[in-house]
């Protein structure tokens, strides 16, 4: 079972773990991204995740499908949240299970790297001083296609 979704509700990592649990698996890897209290030395109070929803959903699904093929993983769930998130809230969760640990961990890692490269999601950080800024990972704007 491979599933990816953009959600606008709280992500429950334990639910993702339950979804990929199967007697065929001996290893499960989970990655969670959470809102951190500082970025580039500035005090962050919240992050607003915006998205080109229709494209982001398709891209997330393609990443999940590609990851499944690349690592031979049959049990993979990916959820990325959009909207306003408070400190410590989960923005993204990726759970993969496999007979062996290598593919489970490699798959999870590959998925988060791909998400950060090719899913049209943007974050506007809100700072303790009342200002807010779109996060711009500059080097990625250099190319036209991924």
């Amino acid at each position: 079972m491979i599933r990816a979704a953009l959600v606008d509700r709280v992500i429950q990592p334990a639910d993702l773990l339950a979804e990929v649990a199967t007697p065929r698996s001996g290893a499960t890897a989970l990655f969670i991204g959470t809102v951190r209290e500082t970025n580039d030395g500035r005090a962050v109070t919240a992050i607003d995740y915006a998205s080109y929803v229709a494209m982001a959903e398709g891209e997330l699904e393609r990443i999940a499908r590609e990851a499944g093929e690349k690592f031979g993983v049959d049990f993979l769930v990916v959820e990325h949240r959009v909207g306003m998130l408070q400190l410590m809230e989960t923005s993204v969760a990726i759970a993969a299970s496999h007979a062996h640990r290598g593919p489970a961990m490699d798959c999870t890692r590959w998925v988060i790297e791909e998400i950060k490269t090719r899913v049209p999601i943007w974050k506007r950080e809100h700072y303790a001083d009342g200002s807010r800024d779109w996060v711009d990972p500059a080097p990625r704007s250099e190319k036209v296609a991924p």
Binding site: V119, P120, I121, W122, K123, V135, D136, V144
Partner: protein
């Protein structure tokens, strides 16, 4: 010349003050032509020449053709995760 609709997101939407707009492009226009048109608008120069463009919800290359019926979007550097 033809007119196409383009979606804008995040910092690009803030820059141009709108999340959707129409722009004129040459006949048989490409993604590169679309960017040239957008960059010629007031404040459009803030969008890089090499900005990512999605055509029908997929990343496109600069030389890919575009049509009025395509779903077009300018994609600021992504920052998910």
């Amino acid at each position: 010349m033809a007119t196409v609709a383009v979606q804008l997101f995040a910092s690009y939407a803030d820059l141009l003050g709108q999340s959707r707009m129409t722009v004129s492009v040459p006949d048989r226009a490409t993604v590169r032509d679309l960017l040239t048109s957008v960059r010629s608008l007031p404040r459009g120069g803030g969008i890089p020449e090499t900005a990512l463009v999605a055509v029908n919800r997929r990343f496109a290359n600069a030389s890919d053709p575009i049509a009025a019926s395509d779903e077009l979007a300018l994609i600021p550097p992504v920052a998910g995760g």
